[in-house]
Symmetry: C2
Subunit: 450 residues, 2 copies
Amino acid sequence: MSDFESVVERVRERVDPTPEERRALTEATARLADRARDAIADLPVEADVLQVGSTARGTWVAGDRDIDLFVRFPAALPREQLEEYGLTVGNDVLPEGREEYAEHPYVKGEFEGYDVDLVPCYRLDDATEIQSAVDRTPFHNAYLEARLDDDLAADVRLFKQFLKGVGAYGSDLRTQGFAGYLAELLVVEYGGFRETLEAIRDWQPPVVLDPEDHAEASFDDPLVVVDPTDPERNVAAVVSETNVARAIHHARAFLDNPDESVFDPRAPDPLDAAGVRDHLDRRATTPLAVVFDAPDLVEDQLYPQLYRSRDGLARGLDEYGFDVLRAATWADDRAVLFAELEVAERPAVERHSGPPVHVSGHAEGFYEKYDGDDSVYGPFVEDGRYVVERERDVQTAREFAENRLLEVALGAHVESRIEAGNYEVLVGAEVSALADEFGEELARYFDPTP
Amino acid sequence: MSDFESVVERVRERVDPTPEERRALTEATARLADRARDAIADLPVEADVLQVGSTARGTWVAGDRDIDLFVRFPAALPREQLEEYGLTVGNDVLPEGREEYAEHPYVKGEFEGYDVDLVPCYRLDDATEIQSAVDRTPFHNAYLEARLDDDLAADVRLFKQFLKGVGAYGSDLRTQGFAGYLAELLVVEYGGFRETLEAIRDWQPPVVLDPEDHAEASFDDPLVVVDPTDPERNVAAVVSETNVARAIHHARAFLDNPDESVFDPRAPDPLDAAGVRDHLDRRATTPLAVVFDAPDLVEDQLYPQLYRSRDGLARGLDEYGFDVLRAATWADDRAVLFAELEVAERPAVERHSGPPVHVSGHAEGFYEKYDGDDSVYGPFVEDGRYVVERERDVQTAREFAENRLLEVALGAHVESRIEAGNYEVLVGAEVSALADEFGEELARYFDPTP
């Protein structure tokens, strides 16, 4: 048996659910479905119950405990009624559950130790008629169920665990990785786990896959997988360039040298304050952190705002001459925008080039503005242009973070925090205080891997 | 009388030679020419004597004491003979003089308080037949003499003094300014001093003048004045972009607001060491100076080497991340390459971006080179590429100047000094020690004007 096969065999033992796990899940699902049908019987409308998701298709990784049940109502039912009836069924089935809102309301709750989503949707003949994203799910389910046999389902489990291990699993906006549905489509399309890794190894982004050969749009994404149930949708739209590259890297590395550890998500020991200071001493950089109470938002709203804010901070620092080596953002109770600087201080003067001397109106205006101004050096002439050396607005990165942060694009809720002055700026060794709350994030930051 | 006219009147009184000065010069020139003709009589070849230059044409500025006499030999005389006979005549006329070498040898000496150049050349029918640059001079002389009347000659004197005042007079390679011949051509072409300033005010570089409308080449210079005696030569080739801009600036400023002081070359009080430190404190920059014994070269060889070296130093510092605000070079007994830095220190690490992860051969090579290397952070993946943070070669500007200066293009004699280690690097307040030798240069540097 090759290295590849023996590693994969060992991983299969971890990711394949045992017969007991399967049976328990099947039984719990049946009980839930019965309850749902009982609740539907009390409604003045027909509806059926459909199990979807990885547990419906046998593609869940051992230990995952998610059950997704969809309640399908007639397409003619007004949306308001659908929402009302959907919540009624949900609350009947999961009396301890809570209502959640994606595109429309559903109920989430626990049942016999499983995390259950009970979601109302429309029963449609064709995916092109969908009214909201959840209406698409039954079509996805049907498409995959028709194509997944037991072997492919097992390979889906391997591939999902592989993506989890490398940190690229999940279409949430924090991870920007591969959705479960996308992982399944790829394994179906390429024909197995190994085949999927071999194909990914050879990806040359932008990569375009169109299983049904029916694309009706063009996409500007590094990875495009046209939804077999919707010719206008890229299933991989959320996957970042970095995660595409990460998948290529790990596919290549694993095929070259199969190593079981790639299936284990990294969990580095947290750095303590002294550990952070050691890295800073070795690197001789100046870190800067903007710290504030994390806005009370779901992750899919929070992280895009943090990413936008991190990029804004880094761009602003760069523009003022505080060269950024690397930037990051983390959130827990507090949120941090972090930028590690090569240059944290600039002189009191900056060069300001004016127009070419021969551009008469503009050039005279520039010269007259500064001539006789004791606060500047010059104007003088260099390479055909007027030049002055004038006082620099912002001499330190700390000043920028304390006084100019609103000049850059920030996430809306982050901007409110900054506007209100509800934030703290840490510079240099001060950032080591973050280790208490962000020790693991700092450990990852100072030991970056693909 | 307008402001312009009254200022010009006062300047005329300073720059117009008195009748006594004219007469004395005429008489001295006649005596020199007689001596030269006597010396020629002893030679086995015919030759005549021609006075050229500003004193021949009445365009010299009062107090200038240069007499240029050319001895013209038949075109058929072999070059070696011309050089030998030329030196013979020169040494006869100026027994205390010394031999100098431009394109060919001539004799330079003092006579009755005048600085005399006695230069052998060929007598030619046409300027296109010239064998060396000096053969062109008699043609220049004839061209201007035919066009200069007393009024224009007086306006040439004004314009020359104007150029001297703004620091743009002289075609030497230190100044890279306007030659006397060029100044005269411009005044002839535009028709007077005021007309010349008005024309220059409106210059839009590149400016092309072709008085004889006979150009046979195209020139890539900010100012092109096609030599009336040579269709392939730009008389203004040496004029720097900065000096063109400087002329435009001062023409505009003087026409707007005639101020006699523009005719006076600046002579700022030298800065002392404390004065240098005051500027550095105010500017909060880090100056760096490379100091060595000035190579023993004529200025036309020395300054191009110094300029090239200054530019090389500045480019090298910039490339290593030590951002240069302004650079300069000065020479006296010692020579200085000076760069004022915004950033004099960088971290111990630098970002090193590798290839996109999907470029298989190249990317694997990069990854394998750094994977497991404890001296780097990473490799990790960012925006689709491998990245490492590796040790930076050069962390301080001083290190660059002390160890890496030979990586950049330097003038040949400067390079020898650096190769031999015969130089000193001053950083920060240390440069204030330069004030003893370069106080005036430092005063100009810290009070730059157009």
